[in-house]
Amino acid sequence: MTALIDNKGSNELLAADASGQRVIHAPTAMPLRQSQRKSRWPARFDLLQSASGLFLALFLMAHMFFVSTILISNEAFYTVARFFEGAYFLGKPYPILVSAVVIVIMVIFIAHSWLAMRKFPAGYRQYRAFIDHKNHLRHNDTSLWWLQIWTGFALFFMATIHLYDMLTQPALIGPYESADRVWTGSMWPLYLLLLFAAELHASIGLYRLAIKWGWFTATTPNRSRRRLRWAKHSLSAFFITLGLVTLAVYVDLGRNHAAHAGERYVSPQHSTAPVRH
């Protein structure tokens, strides 16, 4: 085993103090190797940041598909909403299950925010240094990170509002309930901004993950990068389009339902609570 001695440390060890005497550090009780062992936490934090980001991005995609079932029909969305309340397994819907999922997402979201925040520029000097660098380098991937910072920062607030809403009102997910929240509840401006922030942040994040860990490599790094960039653009474009269309449908539904805002959707198929099939 090679002894790895930190140069700075060894210089301090040898440095003479003002009286000309050498400063001798008292030996520690721990074995040398053990005491010098570097913390494993930077590695774990890095892994956790990537893993939590990957999970949230995949959740976001699945979430968008579930929400967009409104494009098929009110009934389709109603079915999806009741499905996540366990109505088809437990006999009747339990909205508390939605709250439980929201809590899990919230914990991962907060963990990811905390981990990613370590990478933010700390203080004005770093902030300025990065902006100057970004402006003179005119480099796509460097600029993308700036977008990543600002969308991430925006998500701190916007995603939290949405998560809290879902945590406390889990039963109010349904064609009319959601449409009323979007239109009568004036949530559409938030959802519009949230859509762009979340989808951009997620697709840039997935792209960065693939680069960072060396996934989906092609024959040359530049070729794999071109491919990944294409995938990133496609993901952003697809999910933002799907989100905009879905939001438009909810706005339309909400406006038409505004006079009866607050009235719940009653499924023509299940006039009462859904029963076990």
Binding site: M1, L4, K38, R40, G214
Partner: protein
């Protein structure tokens, strides 16, 4: 047809270049950083190395810049060319506009004008990362050197092509914010010694050197290093590889 081609070439030859150089002499207390413009006639196949030498010999002998090999091997002529790090000797003026801005590489200690002390920083990085072969076996001078597969030797040589020009550090967003970051040059060296079977260090030993946010986990994969490297080193894949290996150590 030939006449058209000829005219085009003549048009290019007639270009008059304005080279704006950020000048500053830190040794002179009265000096303040400022852009100074020089005008020269562009010549066929002119590199910035030729242009700068012409300016120094015909217009301003006080202009400071570094050159040794003029062939992209020594790494001393790295500078910001229109804001992007690159080697002056490998940059043709015909690839740039008629107004070219040159500045010293950021991050490194400025000697004067375009000259920076990359050597001092590189030396510090080498000492910090211990970029030499660690072998504790007793040297037997009479024994034949251990053989190495040609593929492995080539893989090591591929990474050994680094000329320590400092472009990757100047192109790195993380390094601009966090001065202690080892940068691609340091990580590439670790990747090089990790490949070398003569180096007896294992991944745990390398973790001690780069297993933190000043090391491989500080890299945010902005890829400035990969894109500005004048030697086209595979920095993107090497850093990703090291990250995977060091993350595994984190799980132990």
């Amino acid at each position: 047809m030939i006449g058209i081609l000829h005219r085009q070439r003549k048009k290019q030859e007639q270009r008059r270049l304005e080279i704006a150089i950020l000048r500053h002499n830190p040794a002179d207390p009265t000096s303040t950083p400022q852009l100074q413009s020089f005008h020269i006639e562009e010549a066929e196949g002119m590199t910035l190395f030729i242009a700068l030498n012409e300016i120094r010999s015909t217009q301003d002998p006080s202009l400071q810049f570094d050159f040794v090999c003029r062939a992209g091997i020594c790494g001393s002529c790295a500078m910001l060319i229109d804001g992007r790090p690159g080697l002056a000797c490998r940059t043709l003026t015909r690839d740039l506009g008629p107004r070219i801005t040159l500045a010293a590489l950021p991050f490194f200690e400025l000697i004067g004008d375009l000259s920076v002390n990359t050597g001092k920083w590189m030396r510090g990085t080498s000492e910090r990362l211990q970029t030499w072969i660690h072998d504790h076996a007793k040297v037997d001078a009479d024994a034949l050197e251990a053989r190495m597969e040609p593929e492995l030797a080539e893989a090591i040589y591929e990474l050994d092509r680094c000329i320590e020009c400092g472009c990757c550090i100047a192109g790195c967003g993380t390094a601009q914010m966090r001065e202690d970051f080892v940068g691609a040059v340091g990580l590439n060296k670790i990747a090089r010694f990790r490949l070398d079977p003569r180096d007896q260090r294992n991944d745990e030993d390398f973790y001690e050197l780069i297993g933190d946010d000043d090391g491989v986990f500080g890299c945010m994969a902005l890829l400035g290093c990969h894109d500005v490297c004048p030697k086209q080193l595979p920095l993107q894949t090497q850093i990703a590889y090291l990250r995977r290996k060091m993350a595994l150590i984190g799980l132990t």
